[in-house]
Symmetry: D3
Subunit: 105 residues, 6 copies
């Protein structure tokens, strides 16, 4: 999402109608994904893990897709993230995320 | 946690009184942290991110501590994980995790 | 929802088949939304904030719709609720709620 | 939190060691609590509701305290927020928040 | 909790200062725990499972204690609940609940 | 799910491509649902309660369906589970689960 223009449906409305809010979000996003020590790819893997734990389909799909597009993440790499999700968040989070992953490969 | 003997208070009781359950957990843990593509350190960073998003103090502290002991994770590295937590999970998760991080460095 | 007859699909079945449960819910609902100090509109805005933080699409939509129908809530008013959601619950909750809001205006 | 200097323990460290992150947070916070239609007090009541639903003691206490200090919120007003929490999030969230509220009055 | 007088700290204040709310809660509680088909003990086991999944220490302890007092629940019975928690909600929820269980036996 | 072959879409892929992970999950599942004191039916009712509290539609439906198929659970029995969900997790979790239950009977 680094340098992202947030062009999704929801964010376009924010940009036009609430430019102050849009600027703050772009600024925060840029700062978040400009870490001091970890590279952006590692941060993206972490974002996929957090999204998968939260069980929000929209967000799981969005994070996986942007990870695949930006870093050519492989299915095995994302599955290694989901292994951690299985242990920390349980079967329902894991199975839901595996199904979304399968639709992307 | 890879190869871990789960020697914490809770797990010792499990090991003695519910050995079948203990074996299953050790087996799952080993499988989870033996990824095909990501190394164990990256998986640990993901586990810290998920714990921090869940707001469970015990688990945040446990994951950070084991990451520091096993991989010499620096404060900056963990803070780069928490940057992602701020964006994905909001200020309360972030601030709570920062406070725990500060106690460890 | 004050004085509501809970006429949604799920609640109609409750009313017919589990009248004791239905009565308890109607009674609780009435008590909850008859605050001592805050008016009902403010309580409705709080309910929208809580629903949006929970990422449950059905409930987000239901709270926003009833807020618009009962109080003529404007898009700007609901967006001001979602600003708080962004800070306290993170981007995924915020973006999902913004998308639902956009469908209603 | 509007115009807040974020002087809590965790945030002081952020300010000194991660000034870029601190600036982004201050900026976001200011934008969030400068709504177009709702006043700041209403947004604060919403923040208390969201914190109380999340069951994070630290955050519940922090939001209630700052609401009392900044707006002289009464016990009845906060209890009217918690009524909504009871209906939307269940007894455990409600009882925990009531206990924290009782310690503040 | 059936027929309970809710004598905990938080609830005493509710009873005195917000009797309407107290009555609604007592009424709801009574209705909830008077199931048509399942006995009260089974419902209590379900309540322990839900509390343990939510990671709220206060609520986990409260549910386990009342289950032990009202039904002489054994450690093995509660551990069988926690087995389900492990599968559905992950290790952090499970370990936290096991620790609380160990303090009660 | 005891003795289950996990034949759902997601799990089939796991079985073929990640057999180590599949074995660990089957093993854990078997251990979890072989309690020392509670019977499998009671554990299934607990699993339905936990799923319903988490608001994940896929998982709520899956747990209810397998409970109906394996144990001929009646609508009243599942509703008695959902009564507990109403008290512990609030109206949105309850209403969503009631709607899913209604689709199954």
């Amino acid at each position: 999402m680094k340098g992202e223009k947030f062009s999704g449906k929801g964010m376009n409305v924010i940009k036009e109608d609430y430019p102050d809010l849009y600027e703050s979000i772009v600024n925060l996003n840029e700062t978040v994904f400009t870490g001091k020590s970890l590279d952006y790819k590692t941060q993206k893997l972490i974002a996929i893990g957090i999204a998968s734990s939260s069980q929000d389909s929209r967000s799981i799909k969005k994070q996986m897709k942007s990870g695949i597009e930006e870093f050519d993440l492989t299915k095995d790499e994302i599955m290694d993230v989901l292994r951690v999700v299985l242990l920390t968040s349980g079967m329902p989070s894991f199975v839901k995320s595996v199904q979304i992953l399968n639709e992307l490969f």
